[in-house]
Every structure is written in structure tokens, then in C-alpha cells.
């Protein structure tokens, strides 16, 4: 019990640290302007990792192999859905007739 309580406490400390860092990066000039979204994404992914390891307490133990595989599959699907949507929609947007031209054509 003591070991798992330690994990929770360490996780809380890490999560607080990373959340604070996210707010700091978003609201200050510490990072170069165009790099801020990248910085926020990195901090968010780091915090998700902290939650998985310290709160959900995933490990590399044999009892946990299926959980890790399922997680890997989930990450694959989420990446395909989000990345694919953004990619396709950006291209569709770029290939569309601009709204102003469309309005003039319909007159």
C-alpha cells in the first residue's frame, strides 16, 4: 500500500508541476511565439504519460502486457482520426473555391 500511495503522491506532484508549466508557457513570453503550441503539446503529452504511469499505474510487468498493447492500439486510432481529419480538411479547404468567388458566381 505504501508504495502505491507514494506513486499517487509523486504523480500529483508531477502533474501539478506540468500543469503549472503549461499555464506559464501559454501566458508568458518564455518560449518563442510560434513554438508555444508545440511546447503546450509536449507538456500535455508528458502529463498524459504521468497520469498513465502514476495514476493508472501502468507498468511493463507481465500482467500488464495486454493493457499496454490495447493502449498502443488506442493511440494509433486516435492519431489516425485526429491527424487524418486535420490533414484532409486542410487540403479540402485549400482546394475549395473561396467563399467570396462563390458568392459572386451565384449572382
Amino acid at each position: 500500500m505504501a508504495k502505491r500511495l507514494q506513486l499517487y503522491t509523486a504523480g500529483l506532484a508531477f502533474a501539478l508541476l506540468l500543469t503549472g508549466a503549461s499555464f506559464l508557457v501559454a501566458q508568458s513570453q518564455l518560449l518563442w511565439g510560434p513554438g508555444i503550441p508545440v511546447g503546450l503539446a509536449v507538456l500535455a503529452i508528458a502529463q498524459m504519460g504521468v497520469h498513465l504511469v502514476f495514476f493508472l499505474q501502468m507498468s511493463s510487468g507481465p500482467d500488464n502486457a495486454n493493457n499496454s498493447l490495447a493502449l498502443a492500439f488506442g493511440v494509433l486510432i486516435v492519431t489516425l482520426v485526429v491527424g487524418g481529419t486535420l490533414w484532409i480538411m486542410a487540403h479540402l479547404d485549400a482546394n475549395m473555391t473561396p467563399m467570396r468567388t462563390l458568392m459572386e458566381m451565384s449572382r
Binding site: R4, T19, P37, N67, V81
Partner: protein
């Protein structure tokens, strides 16, 4: 186990007579492990659903149709308090379930009460934020950006609402039945659910609020 995905063999539980470990393969897995695995699959499918709404938001977030953008709508101080409530409630939830597994029922009930309170604080702030935005003419019908925003944040809020109801149900069940193995398994699933919602919130915080408020 119950509270977490791993570490299943340590906690007290009644061994199921049908599950005698095979000395060669180590299987079959205990019911604690299979239940957590099944629930983990459900959670991942839930996260896949979130990712679809999330993708819609990412595409539509700049389509404000001349209406207000995130920069004028988001109040980062409120969002910060929401984030802290959810994070601490995730922590107290984990500690409470751990306490129940070790038969420290006083700590369990106190932890669950804290978890509920912090979750309710989060939900209350989110609802008042929605009310404030709708009152200011920035409701979900105003623009594609706001439709996507209300869908995404509302979906997370609906999960939190269900989680709070589930928490009450589980505490009542623990009061009536005591920390029996099947009650502990359910508590463990709830703990996984609550932690997963916190993971989803991390994504929402960073990509919706922190980037949107800039």
C-alpha cells in the same frame, strides 16, 4: 488490485475456485485482471470517441463566423481552478480506493467525499461558464467554433456528471455490502474511469483553452 491496471496480485480477495493458475503459462488471469482489462478497452474506445469530437473542434476552432473567439471568451483563472479540482479529485479517488482495498473504511469514505466535492466544484464552474457564455450571446448556435466547443466540453462534462452519479451509487453499495471483492472491483473500474477523464481534460485544457486563449 482494482484501483489500477497493474499490481493485481497483492490485495486481499477471495480466489475464484474455477481459476487455478496453470504452472506453465501462469494463466488463466484472475478476475481482477480480466475485469480491469475489459474496462480499459471500454475506456480506450471512449477516448477514440472523444478524439473524433476533438478533431471536429480542431477543424472548426477558427470558424467564428464573425462571432466571439476563444480569446475573448475563455477565463483562464476559472479554467485553472477547474483543472486543479479535477486533478486533486483524481488523486483523492485513487487514494480512497487504495484505502478501501486495505480495509481503511474511514479514509475511503473521506476520500470519496472529497472526490465528489471536487468533481462537483468542477461541474458547477463549467455549467456557470456555459451559462455566462450563452447569456452573452455566445451559445452553441452562434458559430461553428462555438458548436464544436460546446459539444466537446459538454461531452466531457456529461462524463463527469455520470461519474459523480456512479460515485454516489458505489459509496452507497459499499455502505450496504462492505468492501467485498466484487465491490472493490467496481471501485477499481470507477477509479480507472475518473483517471481517464482527467487525461482527456489535460488534452482539452492544453489545446482548447490554453491555445484558444492566446
Amino acid at each position: 488490485m482494482t484501483a489500477t491496471l497493474t499490481n493485481a496480485r497483492g490485495s486481499a480477495r477471495a480466489a475464484d475456485a474455477s481459476q487455478v493458475a496453470d504452472p506453465l503459462t501462469g494463466g488463466p488471469a484472475t478476475v481482477e485482471i480480466t475485469v480491469a482489462y475489459g474496462f480499459w478497452i471500454f475506456l480506450l474506445s471512449d477516448i477514440v470517441m472523444f478524439s473524433a469530437v476533438f478533431a471536429a473542434y480542431a477543424v472548426l476552432s477558427s470558424r467564428t463566423a464573425g462571432g466571439p473567439s476563444g480569446q475573448s471568451l475563455f477565463d483562464l483563472r476559472n479554467v485553472g481552478i477547474e483543472t486543479l479540482s479535477l486533478l486533486f479529485s483524481s488523486f483523492t479517488c485513487g487514494v480512497a480506493v487504495l484505502a478501501a482495498e486495505n480495509r481503511r473504511m474511514g479514509t475511503f469514505y473521506a476520500g470519496m467525499a472529497l472526490t465528489f466535492t471536487l468533481g462537483a466544484v468542477f461541474l458547477g464552474m463549467e455549467i456557470s461558464e456555459f451559462a455566462r457564455m450563452i447569456g452573452a450571446g455566445a451559445g452553441p448556435s452562434r458559430s461553428a467554433f462555438l458548436s464544436a466547443f460546446f459539444s466537446l466540453i459538454g461531452l466531457h462534462g456529461a462524463h463527469i456528471t455520470i461519474g459523480l452519479l456512479w460515485l454516489c451509487f458505489l459509496v452507497a453499495q459499499t455502505l450496504v455490502k462492505g468492501p467485498k471483492p466484487f465491490v472493490l472491483r467496481r471501485l477499481g473500474c470507477f477509479s480507472l474511469f475518473w483517471h481517464a477523464l482527467d487525461i482527456v481534460w489535460v488534452a482539452l485544457l492544453s489545446l482548447v483553452y490554453l491555445m484558444g486563449a492566446r
